[in-house]
Structures are given as C-alpha cells and as structure tokens.
Symmetry: C2
Subunit: 345 residues, 2 copies
C-alpha cells in the first residue's frame, strides 16, 4: 500500500472527500475537524444507526465490485432510517484498508458511497481511515431526522392490523447463490465468463440494493402512518417475529401472498430449493415490512409496490404462515446469524 501510506491519512481523506458538497441544511460542518456539526430543527428528532461490514463475512471481493460495495454499504444504513419513517441526512465512513488495496481501489469504493449519498440526498460528514491487517473493514453510521409524531417503532402493531411488505422477497438471496455458483465454476479458469442472462434482477438485488425511500414518501402522501415498521434485512420470518415480540402480538401471513419475482422462482427451481423458504429467510431484501390499522386497508392496497400479506393477531396465537393448503406453519427465525458469519441451516 505504498501509494496510500505515502499520502498519509490526511492526504487520503483530502483526496477521497475532494469536491464534496453538503446539501442538507442540517449539516453545519462536515469533514475536517474533531467532529462534524449538525443542527436539526426544534420539531425534529434525530435518528442514528450503524452497520459494520467485514470482508469475507459480509462480502466477497471475488465477485463484488468495490463501487457496488460502497453503494450498498451506504444504502443498508439509509434503509434503517427509512424503516423508522425518517429521512437519512448524514453519514460517517470508517475504513480499515489492507495493504493489497491501491488508491484507485479505495477511490472506487468511495465513488459508490458518494453516488449513494448523492442519490439519497445524504451528506458525508466524517470518518476514520486506518490500515488493516485483516482485509477490508467498512463501518458506516447514518444520522437521520423525523418529526416526533411520524417516527414508527417496531412495537406498535395491534391485533387486526394488516401486514404489508414492499417489493418482492428472496431475490437478493438467490442472487448470492448465483454469484457463489459462478465463483465455484470459475475457480482456476482465467477465461471464465459468468452467465447471468435472464437473472440480471437477482444479481442487481444482491449487489446494488436500494432503500425504499419511495415507499416512505407514498405512505406520507397517502396520509398513512404505519403502526410498526422495520426493514427486511434478516428475512421476512425473522422480522415478523421481531415486530410481534416487541408489539406483544401474533401474526398470520398467507403463503400465496408473499411477493416473489419470476427470476427468483426460476433460480430456486434450478437450485432445487424451496422457494417460500428462500423468500421467508433469505435476507438482504431491504424492503419495508409494516403494519397499518385495518381502516387503512383500501388506501394501502392502492399503493404502488406494496402488498398486503397477512394480519396481526393476539399474542397467544403465535406467528404462523397459512400455507396454500390452509394448514398453519409456525414461523421460525432462520435468517442470517451474523455471529456465525454464514447462513444457518
């Protein structure tokens, strides 16, 4: 890393943050002092969330381009702020950089982070940069804001509320399976060209997810405030259980209402995997899962990209999926266990 270490930390930061412009009124002072300075209006609450991404635990640079990685690292944080019904405003970015990375690599990563910031209207206000003996380390913290009466927690679901989810589920997980398959196929073959034809959506969902800013906007415009909301990062099943546990409720979701893309279904067939299991437990969808009062049923049903998948019940009924044959299958949190660093079986 001679090139980077010869720049030094401050030289590198200058280079990476060159030309940054803060677009939010709440950002008073960005990169360049002991701390960044913000001011939010008196009627605004401040939201903070953070994500740590480690090479070979959360991403594999064999098939993840650095620019995509930067974009995704920022977006997963924005998603957490939208999941509170808030708006992301600032991020800090800390990087641990191992010696095999050149300045151009880190500029690629930063280009992705900056692109995400631009697209979502977020200011990059600080961070920390260090050598790593341990592969690439990315730690991003995001600040956001919301009016107090608009914030949606996980614990507000009530029996008879209806359960909604945006977009479709399981595609990012299937994208990961596809990328892993092509990685294995390419091993030792320099001329290998991976074949993603007809599966572009899966690859995109894995490598370049978006946060559902549009859904938060739609809900606001329709005058709907969810009673509970979170983003689907660990799998629908796991997130439903979280909401129900914190809200002291149960739930029922209908198997045939779970939104699944055609490409996801084809890939599951190819891999001989259970499609619904993949959609329930796959994770990394970054869709919004939320509950609304029954009275909002008609209005929420009309929203673009939102699907009603079930309803909230009394706590003693537990969490279950109603299968196509009418039978009830208890939901289990089989999602990503980040402490194992791999999917659980």
């Amino acid at each position: 890393m001679s090139e980077i270490s010869s720049l030094g930390e401050f030289g590198l930061i200058d280079r990476l943050t060159d030309g940054l412009k803060n677009v939010n009124e709440s950002t008073l002072k960005g990169v360049g002092d002991d701390a960044a300075v913000m001011h939010y209006g008196a009627d605004r609450d401040v939201l903070v969330t953070t994500d740590l991404l480690l090479e070979n635990v959360h991403f594999d640079l064999t098939y993840v381009p650095l620019k995509h990685l930067g974009y995704k690292s920022a977006v997963v944080n924005f998603s957490d702020i939208y999941a509170m019904n808030g708006t992301p405003k600032q991020i800090t970015v800390s990087l641990g950089i191992s010696s095999r990375f050149t300045l151009e690599h880190i500029e690629e990563l930063y280009a992705g982070i900056r692109l995400a910031c631009e697209f979502y209207g977020v200011d990059l206000v600080g961070g920390d940069t260090s050598a790593s003996h341990q592969g690439l380390v990315i730690s991003i913290t995001c600040l956001g804001e919301a009016a107090r009466d608009k914030i949606v927690y996980r614990d507000g679901a009530k029996p008879t509320d209806i359960i909604c989810v945006s977009g479709d589920l399981g595609a990012a997980y299937m994208g990961l399976q596809l990328l892993e398959r092509e990685k294995v196929a390419s091993a030792g073959r320099k001329d290998f060209v991976p074949d993603f034809s007809g599966k572009e959506y899966l690859v995109e969902r894995q490598l370049k997810p978006e946060a559902r800013k549009d859904i938060v906007k739609e809900l606001a415009e329709a005058g709907i405030k969810p009673t509970a909301m979170m983003d689907v990062s660990d799998g629908l099943s796991s997130e439903l259980i979280h909401i129900c546990k914190q809200s002291h409720t149960g739930c029922r979701v209908y198997e045939d209402r779970i939104p699944i893309d055609y490409q996801t279904a084809v890939m599951a067939e190819e891999l001989n995997m259970n499609l619904v299991t993949a959609a329930l437990n796959g994770g990394e969808d970054y869709e919004l899962l939320f509950t609304v009062p029954l009275v909002d049923h008609d209005r929420v049903s009309k929203l673009d990209g939102v699907k009603v998948i079930g309803y909230v019940t009394d706590e003693n009924l537990g969490c279950a999926m109603i299968a196509r044959d009418g039978g009830e299958i208890p939901l289990q949190a089989q999602g990503w266990n980040p402490l194992k660093g791999e999917k659980e079986d």
Copy 2:
C-alpha cells in the same frame, strides 16, 4: 465461538445491554429498533465523531486487558467531542468478534465501555455485532451537543493568541514502549512477571487514558472560549501544524515549557530516546491543545492542569519550537500514520 453464536446476535445484544439506563434527556430511544432516537434542544448543535480500532493495528491483546480496551475505545471518542468544546451524550458500538473470543471476553470489553459511559454520563444507544475472521474490530461513533456559540473549531487561532495544553505529554507513548519491552522479555516464559514499578503512570496513560472533561468545565467556569482547540491524539507537533494550517497562522512553542512527567523522563533516559521528540510526536495523550486571546493570559494561567507553551504567529513564520539554547527547530508531523499501522521513524 460456540457460546456466542448459540446466543445469536439478538441474544448477545440483550445480554450485553442488560440493565442499561439512559441518563440523558436527549436520548428518547436507545438499543432495540432500526435506529436510536434523540432530541436536542433548539439551541443545541449536534456533534458526531467516529473511531475504528483494529486488533494488532491499534491494540495488542497480549498486554491490553479487554476491559481497559473497552474503556479506552469509548474515551477516545469522548475526547473528540470535548475537543469541540462540547459534551458527549450518546455512543453506538459495533463489534467484529473472531471465534477465539468467549462470551466472558466480550462482557469484559463491554464492562469497560459501560464504565466509561457511566463515568462520562453517556448513553449507549445502539450498534452492530458480527463475526470477524480477522481479529477484534471495534467501531464506536459518539454524538455530543453544544450551544452553537460555544463550539470551537481548529481554524480560529489568530496571531498573538497564546497556545495552551492540558496535562503532560509523551507518557502514553512511553507506556507503549514499556509494554512492548515487557512483551518481548516475556516471550516464551510462562512465569514472567512484568516489572512496572515506578512506571505505573506510564502504563495507566497508555491503557486507561481519560478525556479532559474537567478542562472543558474549567474553561467554561472561567468564561474563556478558546479560539481553536483539538485533542492531542497524533502528537503535539502534528496537532499544532493542523491548527496553524487551518487557521492560516504559524506558531512558536518553547521546549522548556512542554509539560512532561517525571516518569516519562526516566523512561526516555532508560531507552536512550530523545525526551522532547517523544513528547512532541508520541501521540495518544488525549490532552487538549487550544489557543486563547492574549487578553485571557492571566485567567488561563491560573487554571489547574493547563500550561501556556507558546504563541501563535503570522503564517509566513511557519511552525517552530524554540529550543533551550534559543535556536528555532521547525515542527514536523512525525506522529502516528494510521495507514502504515506503525509508528513512522
């Protein structure tokens, strides 16, 4: 890491955050949702800073106890907030945990973080926990607050301002040399007992630094607002150059006014190192370096634990130390280069 992975991320977080109580009015919702929620008064600005600490780059677990490491990881962030003349209020803690750590290890680390939070009145409001294939990773972000007209940046120093520093310098660096020496001496010897007698202060400065909350309070009580301030983490020389560069000034500091503890001097003698070089470039002192208008000279001179070490000059005079013999020695930023992961020579 069977014990930890069997708890799962949420079980582990529940365990580590058990009994946490938020003490700050600004903390509305801590651990347990997609994001934490804060509210600062309309007259308050929000400060944010972040630090990434990597095993074998920033700390060596051969001689750093996990509880001390946790304490220090939090305190270095608080120090950045005090360096803005602010008050730290909330932190988020992200951990990457490799498989050699048990639950008890992580509880020790957290005990140190929680102790620091308690001592400095800071709420632990969130974080992220993950497996690491790469040694221990600690990423802490701190939020703080300050009234807008109290915030002190690095760029406000003016010619004729006087330069002050709190505490003493070089001891943490000497503590590191001592710990490294004892590590080498202990290699392969199970019965080895390190000898720190008469050098306890050096070890404490390295392993359990404190942030200068007391100095920020003293300054406020004395009605003194520094024109520029930062904390000394990379060495006095490097920090003076930062302030002068950003303020478009030069500076003169007097060699014989640089505060150095007796133990630091003894250790430098033992190691045959230049004492002033160690004090100028050692780093990790976490003292406050600040400038005040000349008119505050008498008031600042009376403050406990603060020493006047020099004055600010016009930019074209550059940054220099006035040696005991009256000669001028240009200051150089020879401090810690975190991109090399080791001290530069």
